[in-house]
């Protein structure tokens, strides 16, 4: 595979204009759907577009960045999520019952927070010495967050993975995703001493175990796959990976044997049509309404899946199919596959193996999470309740997705044109 340096970047201007046109159409549809209440959304959409353009121009001028593929994918996906969330607001407005609905405004804030965190993390990891210095405290913080989650966590829909502080609720495991890669990639890059490997494995088992205690099995699987990627990227040892997988399988069987309720949670898997008004409700509705959308969708705000619980969070893929149509849904799916291919192509050019490992594990994490979500809501895999990256409504997920993008961004030397020359001189 050719390294990214030799691939000419897309022409960022045209790319940005096309995405903007798509977003303008989406936003217009939302406003038409909202009717006389549409003014409420003008500011929200305007700010979104301004930030999108301002970020691009700023990076273009300040550090002469030429490649924006990752940011544009993130903006493209975030924009879709924002539009869907906004139609939910206009439902409430038309309803008259909740005139102060402000999902869209919140979602916009999450996107902005995500973008800021993306830029900060880019800066933090630009210096590998800084990363090494930050590793121990970050590992401790991760553990503390998960521990706090177990103690303070609230049981929402069967999983104890939410913390509410001062009326603001968030999912700690989303943030730990980022820290997990930060710690893992850094550790293994430093020294392949037995001690550091053992430390890392203890840390990983701790994280995944904590997720099991919280009954957040979907996120546990996401962490586990990320753990495998990091371990393999560093050691290149297939046997170790196989051993870990076997151990995990044995563990899974033991859990199912001793805690039958775990298996019970997945009893509807492949049987959703037997209980369309019970356990199979969410997935059957996703399939029914996805099929109703056809290739081109029914239009924003015109769907019926929105009436189903968790429509804009876990089930949002169904809403995309119903309202945006199958073609856009497919574009979303392909975006994530493209991110992984981009990462693989870029790994060679990474300035340090820390970047290669971090980028690969972040890209793999996003793909696994997307798979669990998309195939889960369509009943090809068990439903685990993980979010659709960038599109599902919610702050923690949005911020962690943008931060994962920072890891992927780090492999692309074109993103740091100023330092590119030095690197080449060194190399």
């Amino acid at each position: 595979m050719r390294s990214l340096q030799k691939i000419k970047p897309f022409r960022w201007g045209i790319e940005l204009i096309l995405i903007t046109i798509f977003q303008l159409i989406s936003f217009t549809e939302v406003m038409l759907d909202a009717g006389e209440n549409s003014s409420k959304f003008i500011l929200i959409f305007f700010v979104f577009l301004v930030v999108e353009w301002a970020y691009t121009l700023l990076m273009r001028i300040s550090i002469k960045q030429t490649s924006f593929e990752l940011e544009f994918i993130s903006f493209f996906l975030s924009g879709i999520g924002l539009s869907l969330v906004a139609t939910l607001d206009s439902d409430f407005l038309a309803d008259g019952t909740q005139t102060q609905a402000s999902y869209a405004a919140k979602q916009l804030l999450y996107i902005l927070a995500g973008l800021v965190c993306f830029m900060v993390l880019r800066w933090v990891i630009a210096n590998t010495d800084r990363v090494a210095a930050l590793r121990p405290p970050v590992a401790v913080i991760s553990g503390a967050i998960l521990a706090a989650n177990i103690v303070l966590g609230q049981d929402i829909n069967g999983a104890k993975n939410w913390i509410t502080i001062g009326g603001f609720s968030f999912q700690p495991s989303e943030i730990v995703k980022v820290l997990f890669i930060f710690v893992g990639a850094a550790t293994l890059d430093k020294l392949q001493t037995t001690r550091s490997v053992i430390k890392y494995i203890i840390f990983s088992v701790g994280c995944i175990g904590a997720l099991f205690i919280m009954r957040d099995f979907g996120t546990a699987v996401v962490f586990f796959v990320t753990f495998l990627i990091i371990t393999f990227m560093r050691s290149g040892d297939i046997r170790t990976i196989l051993l870990i997988c076997i151990a995990a399988l044995v563990g899974a069987f033991l859990i199912i044997f001793f805690k039958p309720y775990v298996a019970e949670r997945f009893s509807t898997y492949r049987h959703i049509w037997e209980t369309p008004y019970g356990e199979g409700m969410q997935q059957t509705r996703v399939l029914i309404y996805s099929a109703s959308g056809g290739l081109f969708g029914l239009g924003l705000g015109q769907g019926m899946l929105r009436e189903t619980f968790a429509a804009t969070t876990d089930l949002v893929f169904g809403m995309v199919c119903e309202e945006y149509g199958m073609i856009i849904a497919f574009a979303i799916i392909i975006s994530f596959a493209a991110i992984v291919v981009y990462t693989v192509a870029g790994a060679k050019a990474a300035r340090s193996s820390f970047y290669a490992i971090a980028a690969c594990s972040a890209a793999g994490l996003l793909l696994v999470q997307l798979s669990l979500n998309v195939f889960g809501v369509t009943d090809l895999l068990p439903l685990t309740g993980v979010t659709l990256p960038f599109i599902s409504r919610g702050g923690s997920s949005m911020i962690s997705c943008w931060m994962l993008m920072a890891f992927i961004k780090s492999i692309d030397p074109r993103a740091y044109p100023k330092t590119l020359k030095e690197t080449q001189a060194l190399g």
Binding site: M1, I229, F232, M233, R234, G236, P276, Y277, T284, R285, L287, I288, Y289, S290, A291, S292, G293, G294, L295, F296, G297, L298, Q302, M304, E307, E322, G325, M326, F330, I333, F336, A337, V340, V341, T343, V344, A347, K348, A350, S353, A356, I357, C360, A363, G364, L367, V368, S371, V374, F375, T378, L380
Partner: protein, 459 residues
């Protein structure tokens, strides 16, 4: 450095597995989207389990059989027509799974994989479906059955149009009987279209098939004579095959005219089980095909493990023999149509909201039925002889009918009355099958008058 880059390539396996999953997802979608979208909890299409909006169903003369007005499904004005066409049209609850309401649900609601339910939402109309049925003929047939269970099917053996398809018991969908009544014996099998999905002991109508086997396997059949003593004694069995009468000496043709069990049991035994089985299978009676996406039931003719007496009974349409009315009607079509079995259908065309025809049926043949023109000619003249020389043409005024009656013995019930036949008139190419369950009367006295009434109403 380079190690990590190489290891990164393994991520492509994730991508490949992921894309394989996406392909499975797309295939699953394409294959099931019709079923999913038309599921009764889809609020785009249904309200409280009833279709909110769907196209109109017309009969062959553009009479409305079912339409939607203000989110309510309304049927034909006439209650007899409603009951007579219920199994073809279907209900709104999906109990009758072979009606167009179920089978063509996606088309009726205007659903398509490409556009989803978009057009239905935009225009509040689905696609219109025109059937080949004539509602007045169906109503005549339903009335003629007079509350008896059974079925009447009539189709044009040249173009395949089913003009009459009635299954009884039925009910008026606008005054559906209570759950208790509908589950009683009186309404047993009410949701089944007996014409497409039923299986019946054919009795003497099966002698048409035994005749075909005789013509194919016994070269001297026309010169044979049979001396009927009222009971055919069969070697290896204490009891013989009982005949309906003591017919004395008969030849092949008069044996069929008189429906002599003695002669036909003897013929079947002479042909032997292997060759009987072959002919029945070659004529398609144990096969199935699709009538407008509905797979018809397969008939049963199984002589494996049978002894001579069983073969004798099977040859006169008893033993374990069962036929499907629609398949039998197609065989009659083949006899009438020079050996070519035209495939029956009852959905003529589908027209979308914009007036464009999106589906139209055309004349096809039933590949499962293999009959030589010579065989069809011989069978035709034998069946013509039945009506002309035995039943009497006065039973079918103005028609050149060919046919065979049957009175089938069924366990735990009174006998079934049957008539299977066709008009040989060039300008009236219709085949007919009438089956009246639990009648206790003969095919001649019960089924022939019904066949005639229905055919006369068609002229």
């Amino acid at each position: 450095m380079h190690n990590t880059a190489k290891r990164a390539l393994t991520l492509l396996f994730f991508v490949a597995a992921f894309l394989a999953g996406v392909v499975i997802l797309i295939v699953t979608f394409v294959m099931n989207s019709n079923t999913w979208a038309t599921y009764s909890t889809n609020q785009h299409l249904y309200s409280k389990g009833n279709i909110i909006s769907a196209g109109t169903v017309y009969d062959a003369d553009n009479n409305i059989l079912a339409k939607t007005e203000n989110s309510v499904r309304i049927y034909n004005d006439d209650s007899t027509v409603r009951a007579a066409t219920l199994h073809a049209v279907g209900d709104t609850e999906g109990c009758i799974s072979t009606g167009v309401h179920s089978i063509f649900q996606a088309e009726l609601t205007g659903y398509s994989l490409v556009n989803g339910v978009y057009y239905l939402k935009q225009n509040s109309v689905g696609n219109d479906i025109t059937l080949t049925l004539k509602s007045d003929v169906c109503a005549t047939a339903y009335s003629a059955l007079n509350g008896k269970k059974g079925t009447v099917g009539v189709y044009n053996y040249k173009d395949g149009n089913i003009v009459c398809m009635v299954s009884s018991p039925s009910y008026d969908p606008e005054n559906k009987p209570s759950a208790e009544i509908i589950n009683s014996d009186e309404y047993e099998g009410v949701y089944i279209n007996r014409f497409l999905s039923g299986l019946y002991t054919p009795g003497s109508t099966f002698k048409i098939i035994s005749s075909a086997a005789a013509l194919e396997n016994l070269p001297d059949i026309y010169s044979r004579t049979f001396t009927c003593t009222g009971e055919l004694e069969v070697k290896g069995s204490d009891r013989g095959v009982i005949c309906n009468s003591v017919h004395g000496t008969l030849n092949f043709e008069s044996a069929l005219n008189h429906s002599c069990n003695f002669a036909f049991a003897q013929i079947a035994i002479d042909i032997g089980k292997t060759n009987m089985q072959k002919t029945v299978e070659r004529l398609g009676l144990t096969s199935s095909y699709e009538v407008d996406r509905v797979k018809i039931s397969k008939g049963i003719f199984d002589l494996s493990g049978s002894v001579d007496i069983d073969i004798g009974w099977a040859g006169i349409g008893q033993y374990t023999t069962q036929i499907n009315p629609c398949m039998m009607l197609s065989v009659l079509g083949a006899i009438a149509n020079n050996g070519v079995a035209t495939k029956p259908y009852f959905v003529k065309s589908i027209i979308n909201y914009a007036g464009v025809t999106t589906y139209s049926n055309s004349t096809d043949t039933v590949d499962e039925i293999n009959m030589s023109p010579e065989l069809s000619e011989n069978l035709k003249s034998l069946m013509r002889s039945n009506v002309a020389n035995y039943y009497g043409d006065y039973n079918f005024p103005g028609l050149t009918m060919c046919g065979k009656t049957g009175t089938a013995e069924v366990s735990n019930k009174k006998s079934t009355a049957l008539f299977a036949g066709f008009s040989a008139d060039e300008d009236f190419p219709y085949a007919v099958i009438v089956i009246v369950e639990d009648s206790g009367t003969s095919g001649y006295s019960t089924a022939i008058p019904i066949a005639n009434k229905v055919l006369q109403s068609l002229r």
